[in-house]
């Protein structure tokens, strides 16, 4: 299984040309013990989750906080790795995922005639997720995705958020007031005068 760390941007399935599932699963599984997921064994996870399901989960986490052409796919893969790793050791999580997926695919098949990952339009997939958004399965993935993006320093640069600054001396000399499209603030002299100095 190849490890796809060099994939800088999320690419949409349409532009991909690859079998989406084959590609996605490979990527998701990178770094996670594959046998734990698809191999034989006596843990609940292996018994309940297959590669198709992993691919569906990857689609889901991308749909929850979609940043196509903005964040690399690896951010979402890492989210899923975390969830899958937990499912390996926690039967409760494995069951939550397996049953949640079963339920989601059943709803999807009923409404759109195909499983979730094969529903082509984002709006339709979002609609399906809105139906289940109050459940534990969805919220688990939502918070995992939130954490994997918005509190993940690896994702921050893309948002323009620069993280810790004290070790660089703050922003006093690094652009806290660098906007040229706004009128400047008062000078030090003006600010001194304003307090009677």
């Amino acid at each position: 299984m190849s490890i796809q760390t060099e994939h800088p941007k999320f690419k949409k399935r349409e532009s991909e040309g690859l079998s989406r599932r084959g590609f996605l699963v490979k990527s998701v599984l990178a770094g996670v013990s594959a046998t734990a997921i698809v191999g034989a064994g006596n843990n609940a996870f292996a018994a309940t989750l297959n590669e198709d399901q992993a691919a569906t989960l990857l689609q889901m986490v991308q749909d929850i906080f979609p940043h196509p052409d903005f964040l690399p796919l690896s951010i979402y893969q890492d989210v899923l790795k975390g969830v899958l790793t937990e499912a390996e050791s926690t039967e409760e999580t494995a069951t939550l995922l397996a049953e949640g997926l079963k339920d989601l695919n059943a709803r999807s098949t009923e409404l759109h005639g195909v499983p979730y990952a094969d529903v082509d339009a984002y709006a339709k997939r979002e609609g399906l997720l809105r139906i289940i958004q109050d459940g534990a399965f969805f919220q688990k993935l939502r918070w995992a995705t939130w954490a994997g993006i918005y509190i993940n320093p690896e994702a921050w640069p893309q948002f323009g958020y620069e993280g810790s600054s004290w070790e660089h001396g703050g922003y006093i000399d690094r652009g806290f007031s660098d906007a040229t499209w706004l009128p400047p603030g008062p000078t030090l002299e003006e600010r001194m005068k304003a307090v009677g100095k």
Partner: protein
């Protein structure tokens, strides 16, 4: 010079809590030669604990002791077990406060006289005036290092984010636009450095440019040899004798063992949730409704300030995360002008949110996900916005009560924090949203977001000050009407909330209270 007092030394003042109120009181008394023991429920945050990590520090600093939220406010729905955003630790909530240090205006001390009775509100005048408090505001500003005339420290330089607000405000005709007053050094002062525009004030200031009692008042008090601080010591009960005088406190030490500390005077500064909770939990056969509660007002009239966040996407980059989190205030809407459809006024305060907190509050609830939210967050670097801080009316049913069955780690009932906004609050907020939309429109904003509300950070009113012992818990010195040697030394004493962030007023009141305590001790009245 660390003092150590005997547990049955009944000559000391016992101070409960080491935040804005407790830390200040300890130092003021120490400077007058009065001995105190400070009991602080939390531990110490060392400089190494302070990181520029918004979410990590939220988890590290926030007091997650069990508290429930009830009533019709956002808290009950959005964060039912985190009604308030507090710090349990040396320095209390001053470790993560932003440093805005506004004074009350004259009318804000006499809202009942100015506006008459208001339906469904428990209006009252403060028993003190601005004129009486002014010298103490000066002293508070000098002590804390507040930019402005009293210290002669210039207000902070204007960041991009504030320049957006200032220019927008100017375009809609506002004029009261300033980058202060802030309790943050704009120049090196008092052994603390000037602000480096680090941008993580609410995660604890890494360099100590911002005033917080753990690095100022408490060390100064300890230095005198007159103050002993015991951390990880949670006070469970205030005890009294047959004459109804407070005699000391029972507390749980770091190992969970119960201890006693005798006292000549007890001062409670646990912030406006824990202060009334402690009074209620100290009920005895002599005071069955809780200590100092003959008025029935302990725990009532809980106020938080009308508040809301408005953030808009600007046409160019703002880099909102660069620089002091709040340092820029528009004060044109502070006057009491009922023609706007509400009484009281509000401030607009530029406020930095990091990406983590922005992503949590831009939308809230189970449905806060999806393409719209993700796209809005992709424009994080273009966002600019404010925190609205407005006068919140006291209502008797808003308050702190004890849970019937659920107990904390020490076996005491956990608090329930109930609040339902007054109609006046709703009207004020609507007005403020309208004003902010206009200000941002004037800056060619592309999209505007009214954020979900945060857990309450300004807590006031739950042991309020009133001249009449039947209508309030404490007199104008913060001394309880019922028990002369029991004082309240935090925002619980606020009669009404004003539109000013509360801390400067807490500190000014406590400086004044310390003088009174010293005088009454000298005269042997307490």
């Amino acid at each position: 010079m660390t003092a150590k007092f005997d547990q049955d030394d009944d000559s000391v003042v016992v101070i409960i809590g080491s935040g804005a109120g407790g830390g200040t009181l300890a130092n003021e008394l120490a400077q007058k030669g009065i001995s105190s023991v400070v009991l602080e429920a939390g531990g110490v945050f060392e400089n190494d604990d302070i990181e520029n990590d918004e979410w990590g520090m939220f988890l590290k600093l926030t007091d997650f002791d069990k508290r429930y939220s009830a009533g019709g406010w956002h808290g009950a729905q959005n964060h039912p077990t985190l009604p308030n955003w507090l710090v349990k630790g040396l320095g209390g909530s001053t470790v993560h406060w932003a440093g805005v240090s506004l004074r009350f205006h004259e009318h804000e001390f006499k809202m009942q006289t100015v506006n008459g009775d208001i339906q469904d509100a428990n209006m009252a005048d403060w028993p003190i005036t601005l004129e009486e408090l002014e010298p103490y505001y000066d002293r508070a500003e000098i002590k804390m290092g507040v930019t402005g005339k009293a210290t002669g420290m210039p207000h902070l330089p204007w960041s991009n984010d504030f320049r957006v607000l200032a220019e927008g405000a100017r375009r809609v005709g506002y004029t009261k636009i300033e980058s202060g007053p802030m309790a943050i050094n704009s120049v090196d002062r008092d052994g603390r450095p000037a602000c480096q525009q680090i941008g993580f004030c609410m995660q604890g200031c890494k360099i100590g440019a911002k005033w917080s009692t753990d690095i100022t008042e408490i060390p100064a008090a300890v230095e005198t040899g007159k103050c002993e601080v015991r951390t990880n010591c949670m006070v469970l009960q205030i005890e009294h004798d047959e004459s109804g005088k407070a005699t000391g406190v029972v507390y749980a030490d770091a190992d969970g063992n119960q201890q006693r500390q005798a006292a000549r005077v007890v001062a409670v500064a646990g912030n406006s949730i824990e202060t009334p909770r402690l009074l209620l939990n100290s009920a005895s056969s002599m005071f069955p409704d809780g200590l100092a509660n003959s008025s029935g007002q302990v725990g009532k009239n809980y106020m938080v300030h009308v508040n809301g966040g408005v953030y808009s996407e600007m046409p160019e980059r703002v880099h909102i995360h660069r620089g002091t989190q709040v340092a820029g205030i528009v004060a044109d809407e502070v006057p009491n002008n009922p023609e706007r459809g509400f009484i009281g006024g509000y401030h607009l305060e530029k406020l930095t949110l990091g990406l983590p907190v922005m992503s949590l509050f831009l939308k809230r609830g189970n449905g806060a996900w999806g393409r719209d939210l993700a796209q809005a967050l992709e424009r994080y670097d273009y966002l600019s916005g404010v925190y609205i801080v407005g006068e919140d009316l006291p209502q008797e049913q808003n308050g702190i009560t004890l849970h019937d069955t659920e107990k904390d780690q020490h076996g005491l009932p956990v608090p329930i924090v109930s609040r339902t906004p007054h109609n006046n609050d709703e009207r004020m907020l609507k007005h403020a949203y309208g004003v902010m939309d206009k200000i941002h429109d004037a800056m060619d904003a592309k999209t505007t977001h009214h954020l979900a509300k945060y857990p309450a950070s300004h807590n006031m009113g739950t042991a309020r000050m009133h001249e009449d012992p039947a209508r309030g818990v404490v007199n104008k010195w913060g001394q309880t009407h019922d028990i002369p040697n029991l004082f309240i030394s935090d925002g619980s004493v606020f009669t009404t909330s004003g539109a000013a962030n509360p801390t400067l007023t807490i500190v000014a009141l406590v400086i004044r209270q310390a003088e009174y305590i010293a005088q009454e001790m000298n005269a042997n009245n307490i």
